[in-house]
Structures are given as structure tokens and as C-alpha cells.
């Protein structure tokens, strides 16, 4: 199924409406259209990393600098970034607002995504990372704004899982 052009736009506008101008990301298919917008928008500073754990450090630097920041990654990238999440963000009380493409779940046709998809929510729970699923384009902007607010007040990583319902047409 093709990635939703309209909903990618809605998510991007939601990020901007939350007052965020700094975005770190590792590109992946569901995030592609969103990242193209970020790249083309002069008001958005997009930093593309080689591996997702780098983005945890960059997000910490942005937080110290007082710059609102979101991280965009796939759930497998989140799994690759866990030590940074635990031993930088959680250890020091640094907020992270993570928008995570939730691959490998209901309707997933690709076998390689499935193991990561099956364990994502349990891993988030095990790490005490509050999360919500984003399914509805009418609600996602509010969810982004609330995720950002909560990350800042709780000084904690917070995750919004971008589901297939939202990301594919």
C-alpha cells in the first residue's frame, strides 16, 4: 500500500503546530513523505543520522540548548537506540518526544518487520516509556502536541506510535 500523502502532511503540520523546528530522523518508507516536507521547509532544521542512537544524543543537545525537538524513527531504530534512551535520557532526566513508525503489526505483509513489531509495545512498557497509538488523522496533531508537552513535564522519553491505519492509504 502506498504511504499516505495526506496524512504525512497532517503529521508534518502537527509537528510544526506543536512549535517544533528541530527534527532528527533516520529515513524509512513510512516517514519518507514527511521527511521530504521537513527537508523542503526552510523553517525546519532536519538532522539525518546514520543510526538512531545518535539522535538520542542530538535530542539531548537540543534540549540543553532550549530548542524544541522531535525524533522520527522506525520501531526497529528505536530498538537500536535503547541504551541511549535508558542511559542518557532516563538517567539524566532528559525529555524525548519520539514519533515511531510502528512496523510489523496488524496487516504487516513483510516477514522481516514482524518480530520487532510484535515486541515494540512490551519493550516500551518494560522501559516505562508512556506511549499512544496514532491511528486517526483528525487526532494526530493533538497527540503530537500532547506527547511533546508530557515529555517536557515528565522529563521522560515519550513515544507516539504511527500505525498502518495512519501511514498507508
Amino acid at each position: 500500500m502506498p504511504v499516505s500523502y495526506e496524512n504525512s502532511k497532517v503529521i508534518f503540520e502537527g509537528i510544526k503546530a506543536a512549535g517544533i523546528k528541530s527534527v532528527s530522523a533516520l529515513p524509512e518508507t513510512w516517514l519518507g513523505l514527511l521527511l521530504q516536507r521537513a527537508e523542503d521547509d526552510p523553517d525546519i532544521d532536519l538532522i539525518q543520522v546514520a543510526k538512531e542512537e545518535e539522535a538520542i544524543g542530538i535530542a539531548a543537545g537540543a534540549y540543553f540548548a532550549g530548542e524544541p525537538h522531535v525524533l522520527l524513527m522506525q520501531n526497529h531504530g528505536f530498538l537500536a537506540a535503547i541504551n541511549g534512551v535508558v542511559s542518557l535520557a532516563q538517567l539524566y532526566g532528559i525529555p524525548l518526544c519520539m514519533l515511531i513508525a510502528f512496523r510489523g503489526h496488524w496487516g504487516e505483509p513483510y516477514p522481516w518487520h514482524t518480530r520487532g513489531g510484535i515486541i515494540t509495545e512490551e519493550v516500551l512498557r518494560a522501559l516505562s516509556i508512556p506511549f499512544e497509538l496514532a491511528r486517526d488523522p483528525d487526532k494526530v496533531a493533538q497527540q503530537i502536541s500532547e506527547a511533546y508537552t508530557f515529555s517536557q513535564s515528565s522529563l521522560s522519553p515519550v513515544a507516539l506510535l504511527l500505525t498502518r491505519d495512519l501511514m498507508e492509504d
Binding site: I47, V49, A50, E54, I58, A59, A62, F64, L91
Partner: protein, 194 residues
């Protein structure tokens, strides 16, 4: 050359810079010279000191950022060189103390022991233009001075002995370090804006 000597040499220069160190010996040796509110010690999450440096440098173009890294840490995040090269924060100096050892975790040889792996060559290969290697204090001092004069990203790989401080411990809790570091930046920004 010892890392403690190198840190002592540059300590006066760190007064008005944002400094991020890695864990263990490097953090302790800086702390022992006297903690400042503009120092952040990353006591875990090996590899991410330079990523924090990039996040700081990119969002605070009027500040100078100095990252004090180590071979063991940077080997855990070699991709950082490629990201630094791509975004080229002109206000950041990345110092890597290469002791060829995982000193803080038992002194095992790292991949850079005996010059098998050359971190400076990796940094250059990643696309970083200004990369210096230093084997003695004179070379290190010159490399730092040159980097400070340059308005560009610099990487300095300093070959040091695998020795550390004789004691560990800070009167500074980890979140406290983060809160105070952030407050220092905020207050400096507010003072500049006024």
C-alpha cells in the same frame, strides 16, 4: 602523554565553552581540576558525547562546543563522524583521547591498540576536513590552538597513556548535572538577549 596533562593544558580555554565529556577517567580528570556549570559529564551511554555536541553546536551557533571523547566510546558510534561531516558544525571541536584501552572498564585493549585502527584516518575518510593527530604535549597544544582559531569543525586525536585518576567520585548527581548545565545555557542566552 597523559590525558590528565592534556585536559589541564586546555582547562583555561574551557571557561567559556560548552564542554561534554565521556564517562570515567576523562570526566573525573576534568572534574578534579574544578567543576564548572558549563561542563556536562556523560557517565554512561558510550558513544553519544559527540552527538550531544552536535545537538548543542547546531542549536547554539554563538557558542563553542568542545567534546572530550575516547577511543572506546567513539568506536561504539563511528557513524557520528559521518553525521558530523555532513552537518559540519563550525563551532565544535571533537577531541578524542586515544589510549588504546577500555581503561574505565578493566583496561582491555581496544581496536586502536598498537595503531591497528587509525581513528584520525576514519574521521578523514568520513569527510571531516580538519583532523589532527597528536603524540605529545607540544603537538596537542598546537592542534588545540589551531582548532580554536579555525571557524570550522575540528577533530583532534590525541594518543595518550592508558592511565587514569587514583580515585573516582563527584559531588554532583547525574540529573543535577543535566539541570544545571541546561540552566547555565539558558541564563547565558537570556543575558545575551538583554
Amino acid at each position: 602523554m597523559e590525558r590528565a596533562t592534556c585536559i589541564e593544558m586546555i582547562y583555561p580555554e574551557l571557561e567559556d565553552k560548552l564542554v561534554v565529556t565521556i564517562m570515567g577517567a576523562c570526566a573525573q580528570e576534568l572534574y578534579n581540576l574544578g567543576h564548572r556549570e558549563n561542563f556536562f559529564y556523560l557517565q554512561h551511554a558510550m558513544g553519544l558525547a559527540s552527538s550531544i555536541g552536535l545537538g548543542l553546536a547546531r542549536h547554539l551557533p554563538d557558542e563553542r562546543v568542545i567534546v572530550l571523547d575516547g577511543d572506546g566510546s567513539v568506536l561504539m558510534n563511528l557513524g557520528t563522524f559521518t553525521t558530523l561531516a555532513r552537518y559540519r558544525p563550525t563551532n565544535m571541536i571533537h577531541v578524542i583521547f586515544d589510549n588504546g584501552s577500555l581503561l574505565s572498564t578493566g583496561g582491555f585493549d581496544s581496536q586502536t591498540t598498537s595503531g591497528i585502527t587509525d581513528l584520525a584516518a576514519i574521521a578523514r575518510g568520513a569527510g571531516i576536513e580538519h583532523v589532527a593527530s597528536a603524540d605529545n604535549e607540544l603537538q596537542f597544544g598546537e592542534a588545540v590552538l589551531e582548532a580554536l582559531e579555525l571557524d570550522d569543525l575540528s577533530v583532534i586525536v590525541a594518543k595518550v597513556k592508558a592511565v587514569g585518576p587514583d580515585h573516582y567520585g563527584m559531588d554532583l548527581e547525574l540529573p543535577e548535572n543535566a539541570f544545571r548545565f541546561r540552566r547555565y545555557i539558558r541564563e547565558k542566552k537570556q543575558a545575551t538577549d538583554q
